[in-house]
């Protein structure tokens, strides 16, 4: 029995716990759900109703005009005007109707409404109406009616088509992959070799280097930006190459991830059983062979944890990409593209939500697929602040 289980015996009533956790889950999930739902909605519906109404029919109050009195037919002693309140191509279901703007939903659809003066109006759900009077209709124009129309929820993938093709999100997606994949893989090997040296080799200054690595984990990126930007510009000018390139950002990301990588991997590799490594040494294996044949396969969990961290960090990064890759449209990563869209497309929520969802899709897949390794990595290296 664990600590939590013993608390359970005496703690708060179970139901309260269940309900509070449920409430927390809802609060945490709802903002993301909002953009997911919105990204599939029709742009016109997004602006006319909240996303939480997307699954119920959207109810709108509209006005319409019945046909002119001249269209009336005489049926016995009654005069009748009939037709449809909907214009050509307009659809939906009439829920209620009324004749005064103050009470646009006074009468239920399908039920005859007594309007006084011997007039009766029936508007059916499909929009067809019958307007009857026990004498001839007067006036020039048709009577105004107010309708409460329910339009069925419509969902579309059009928003995704739009952002992927014409808003540059497709290109940005490829750019993000171009940045994130090498920036994730390259540092692993470099860090693993360093971690091995720091765990299983004795040399003067080892403790100092470990202390330096631990210290560098928390050094803010901001400290590096100015000198590196100057350095990149100088190198670019000297060799006549663009100062903002993928090669530049790969190296920058690799270096910025290096302290945490070394720290995580060192903790893990130092904890591997001593006997395995020593018996391999006795058998005459070189350090290189020990590393490749024993250390790398055994440290798979730590390598996986770090690569997930590094991938999420490079994929989600905005600052490093803005400084080292620039804000040119061709080289914009997803986060940069999203930031640009927030500036230029503010209020166009169909574009913003679809773009945002594309940008968080890959990290979410990684997250739900590899959560176990992510948690393990967090527990092993919770000294870096993202």
């Amino acid at each position: 029995m664990n600590a939590a289980a013993s608390l359970r015996r005496i703690g708060l009533p179970r139901l309260v716990v269940h309900l509070s956790v449920l409430l927390i889950c809802i609060i945490w999930l709802i903002p993301t759900l909002g953009i997911l739902v919105t990204s599939f909605r029709d742009p016109a519906q997004i602006t006319s109703s909240g996303w939480w109404t997307a699954f119920t029919s959207a109810s709108q109050t509209t006005a319409s005009r019945l046909a002119d009195p001249s269209a009336a037919r005489q049926e016995g002693s009654n005069y009748v005007i009939s037709g449809s309140v909907f214009e050509e191509g307009q659809g939906g279901t009439v829920r209620a109707f009324g004749t005064r703007v103050a009470a646009p939903a006074e009468f239920e659809a399908g039920q005859p409404a007594d309007l006084g003066d011997g007039e009766t109006l029936t508007v059916n759900g499909d929009g067809s109406y019958t307007y009857t009077k026990n004498g001839p209709f007067e006036g020039e124009r048709g009577r105004r009616v107010y309708l409460q129309v329910a339009t069925p929820p419509t969902f579309t993938t059009q928003n995704y088509n739009t952002v992927l093709t014409s808003q540059g999100i497709g290109q940005a997606f490829v750019n993000s992959l171009t940045v994130a994949i090498p920036s994730t893989i390259i540092p692993i090997l470099i860090a693993a070799f360093a971690a091995y040296a720091l765990s299983w080799m004795e040399f003067p200054g080892r403790a100092l280097i470990i202390a330096m690595v631990v210290g560098l984990i928390v050094v803010p990126l901001q400290m590096s930006l100015i000198p590196l930007l100057r350095m990149y510009n100088e190198i670019g000018a000297f060799f006549g190459v663009p100062s903002r390139s993928y090669a530049g950002i790969w190296l920058a990301h690799s270096a910025f991830g290096m302290p945490l990588a070394i720290y995580l991997l060192r903790n893990y590799i130092a904890g591997l059983p001593k006997e395995i490594i020593e018996s391999a040494r006795v058998d005459g294996a070189s350090d290189f062979e020990i590393f490749v044949k024993i250390i790398l396969p055994l440290s798979f969990p730590a390598l996986a944890s770090f690569s997930i961290f590094q991938f999420l960090w490079t994929w989600n990064d905005l600052l490093v990409a803005m400084v080292f890759l620039g804000t040119n449209r061709e080289q914009l990563v997803l986060t940069g593209a999203l930031n640009a869209l927030l500036g230029s497309m503010g209020g166009r929520w169909e574009i913003l939500t679809a773009s945002a969802f594309i940008s968080i899709l890959v990290p979410l897949l990684v997250f739900f697929g590899l959560q176990r390794y992510l948690v393990r990595g967090l527990l092993a290296g919770s000294v870096k602040g993202g």
Binding site: T32, I35, G215, V383, G386
Partner: protein, 337 residues
Amino acid sequence: MISQIVSAVGVVIAGVFACALYYWLSDKLLQIVFPVPKENVRAASINLNRRAVVRPWLFMGPALILLGVYLVYPVVATFILSFYDRGGVNFVGLANYRWAIFDGQFRQSIFNNILWLAVVPAACTFFGLVIAVLTDRIWWGNIAKSLVFMPMAISFVGASVIWKFVYEYRGGNETQIGLLNAIVQSFGGDPQVWISMPFWNNFFLMVILIWIQTGFAMVILSAALRGIPEETIEAAVIDGANGWQIFWKIMVPQIWGTIAVVWTTITILVLKVFDIVLTMTNGQWSTMVLANLMFDWMFRGGGDSGRSAVIALVIMAAVTPIMIWNIRQANKEMGGH
């Protein structure tokens, strides 16, 4: 597009291959430079020692170069640049520091950063702890944890879009499509432009970071809670303690160390907060924070590396105590090795 992906994958393969080649060659080179002759035991042992002296540095070489160029050198260079003018050419002494002290926007940023530091780490740790305790007690706790943890995977920019939509305000008589304003309206309140309300808008931005980081706090604290020895709680139960007392007097004191780690980790993150402010307000309506001000000065009017460096150093100074504490902790832990 496809060719870009192919070239990225090519870089990965070439990079991994180049790294492997470097380590393999350096190992071979070591064997050639310091041979171990079988007939001469003395020479062999000398060379074996020499190899052992050089090898660690070969193994660590690439990592140390990256750390040196991208982290150690810049820290020194930023410090030096803070005493130079905007182009980094002329020495200006303490002029940039003097500017910072009297600059309204800088003071505003310091104030906002302190506000963030006061609220976000505390809120994340508190919610994380509460959720960890609650979810440990129910059968579907892991699903709940996953959901609270999920925002960790979302970028700050993505999270900003998500929350900007929650805070969306629409003027006139238009339907409020932002969740917050719709809720306010349903309780009879008036819709507000949340992100441009001075002072309070800071808290609306903080909510985003709290939403993201609570999951982190929860995961770490939950693991710590599970590590509490059973006997201490059993003993408290026998002594007649109630759930509330057990939580505050038995459980929390035993995980102080972990709480400190969570708190400091989030503190560092808060000091560097940049993306959220950039995308939500870009520092307008008095929401500027240090990282954004620093970025602003890096490029404003062609860039001012001196002022920018001063702001970066303030962030660095704030991080330094935590850095020292971390190094001490790590040294203590490594005492055994």
